[in-house]
Point group: C2
Chain length 367, copies 2
């Protein structure tokens, strides 16, 4: 088992990563100080629950906990206030009290929803993450929890840290291949922004990662979590360095918005976005090798690096302007300075972004 600590003063918490951890969840809850007399609520989704919920329930009951489970439909649509209210109702009916905890067994959707329940039920109770996707390594660090509003994603939420993250690599074996690659996009992103060696390590070990080799995956998730943890510890409430984590996300979000959510998975969209950021870097005078190596890394992880022809540059630009309320023709982007280092550039010309988007639609070398 690998363990790291997210350092946030009195809100610090451990992340345990390894094989066969689910069966230890009861012991971990005791160790984290959750009393047996307070009921626990597991939130999971309709894909994950049939596979892993019985094991988690058994482990908790075996330790002596009273456990109630709430299973939501799989998918982003469950990150809504309506589903949130249903989970709260379950929590009240189960008699959760101030010493109880909500356990999120699933991917980022379950984590974000259950986290907001934990943050707001009785003004905040315990929260434990049991991520079952690779992408959720990202949501398990940083304390962002949220639900969506029909008018905008992640609009309603809190900064709320879990007490514990238990990452059982065995659960990842049932992930569909596209979900694996999508999650790895955020993993390699953490290398691209702050850890050159790790980014190249991902390139070298891409096939082991795609085949979920336990050793490689454990290392990659540990590094990914650790890099994000470092950024978040320095900037818990997103005032400065935390913006680095948005590498590829401005274009990525626009792709998701224009294409419709779910056409590209989140990691796929930001992979194209990271390719775009690397192109922009070249346009701003950074070395071309940044782009070439970024493309190599993303491609090795079976991620897309091109925009399909049907995406309109105008629509993408509009989505970006709407998303970030950029003013007066200048846009802000996270731009790589080299592999493993990025800057916040505030005065990117709209015309440069248009050129990048147009270029992303073309096959072959940009130069």
């Amino acid at each position: 088992m690998r363990s790291i600590t997210v350092e946030l003063g009195e809100r610090s918490y451990p992340i345990h990563i390894g094989s066969g951890l689910l069966r230890d969840i009861g012991r971990h809850c005791v160790k984290a100080g959750f009393p047996l007399r307070s009921p626990l609520l597991i939130v999971s989704d309709s894909e994950v629950a049939p596979r892993y919920l019985p094991m988690v329930e058994a482990a908790l009951r075996g330790e002596g906990y009273v456990v109630v489970s709430h299973v939501i439909p799989a998918g982003e649509a469950s990150k809504s206030l309506a589903v949130y209210e249903e989970v709260i109702t379950t929590a009240i009916q189960a008699g959760l009290d101030r010493s109880s905890a909500v356990l999120a067994l699933g991917g980022g959707v379950v984590g974000d929803l259950a986290g907001f329940v934990a943050a707001s039920y009785m003004r905040g109770i315990g929260f434990i993450q049991i991520p079952t996707t690779i992408l959720a390594h990202d949501s398990s660090v940083g304390g962002k929890v949220a639900v969506n509003h029909p008018l905008a994603k992640n609009m309603i939420g809190a900064f709320y840290q879990p007490s514990l993250v238990l990452y059982d690599l065995d659960t990842l074996s049932t992930l569909p291949p596209r979900q694996i690659s999508s999650g790895l996009a955020e993993v390699v992103k953490h290398g691209l922004i702050l850890d050159r060696d790790f980014a190249y390590w991902c390139l070298e070990h891409a096939s082991e990662l795609l085949s979920l080799n336990t050793e490689a995956l454990g290392y990659a998730l540990e590094r990914g979590c650790a890099i994000k943890a470092r950024v978040v510890s320095n900037d818990e409430r997103e005032h400065g360095q935390r913006a680095f984590l948005n590498l590829g996300h401005t274009i990525g979000h626009a792709i998701e918005a224009v294409g419709g959510y779910g056409v590209f998975l989140h990691g796929e969209a930001i992979a194209i976005g990271m390719a775009g950021s690397a192109l922009l870097a070249a346009k701003l005078g950074r070395e071309r090798v940044i782009y070439e190596d970024t493309i190599a890394m993303l491609s090795a992880l079976s991620l897309p690096v091109r925009l399909p022809a049907e995406y309109s540059v105008d629509e993408l630009m509009e989505a970006m302007m709407h998303d970030k309320k950029f003013k007066e023709g200048k846009m802000t982007f996270i731009v790589p300075d080299s592999i493993g280092a990025v800057s916040i550039v505030n005065d990117v010309q709209q015309s440069a972004v248009r050129e990048v988007l147009a270029q992303l639609k073309k096959e072959g070398s940009p130069w």
Copy 2:
């Protein structure tokens, strides 16, 4: 103008109390650092808005802010997730961003609801309280914000501190008399738990307080806020001393639950509860003068100190057991040791509480 600071490290904030402050709200928002380019959202209710909203809007617009207002129906029923979602929708449509603020113009209902909107919109934006009831002096200190769930009051919320509280005493002139007395119950409670001199000061100045004498009321609200602030600073997340603030509330909540919300106002219910706590104190061997002086103070403020005959002791006991999940026949109460000092007593016999409730239904001296 009187000003106090609620000391909470980097979350410290000022409370300004005085006459004619509404027209300064724009200036205060600028001073608190809210930029003119970010829209402000005022939440108010159908009783308060017609009287005071235009003045607040004008003061903010006069300073150069873009302002949008959302008026909810007056009353506790508006503290719901459904109304919460409507307010969030207004915020999104008005384009509130991370630098925006939500202003609560009203009593505790508006404050609690608007506060939870501020706490959760984009994971937390600015929050300014403009209390218009006396009771809201209590909710303006402590950072508790919440909405109700059909199954339980204040079940969904957060600890979220305002940036600023602006208490314009002039707004209190339109409060119905019962609301005035109800609010004063929490004021004198703050004296009863921690400030003997202030408690007797309230007794001496009761008629000035009831007639809303600016000087007396300003002093009383300042002391009330300051005492609560001291307790909260020592115990922001309610682990210890903050329990003192519940003096009278165990019985008070039971009265509200059994009688139906709104039969007694909150302050009226806890006045009866404080009378009960003083009786319990006598039963536990404290001096009778505690009870006699408590009754004198509450009566002077036109507050009830007796339970109407139709309240059933069994039903009240059941409501208390349900509320606090007391176990094995022992109950926890905040019990006065003298006027201005209280203890947490964990081993109160149920039978003693029953006797207190029965006594509260009888006219005349208990001894």
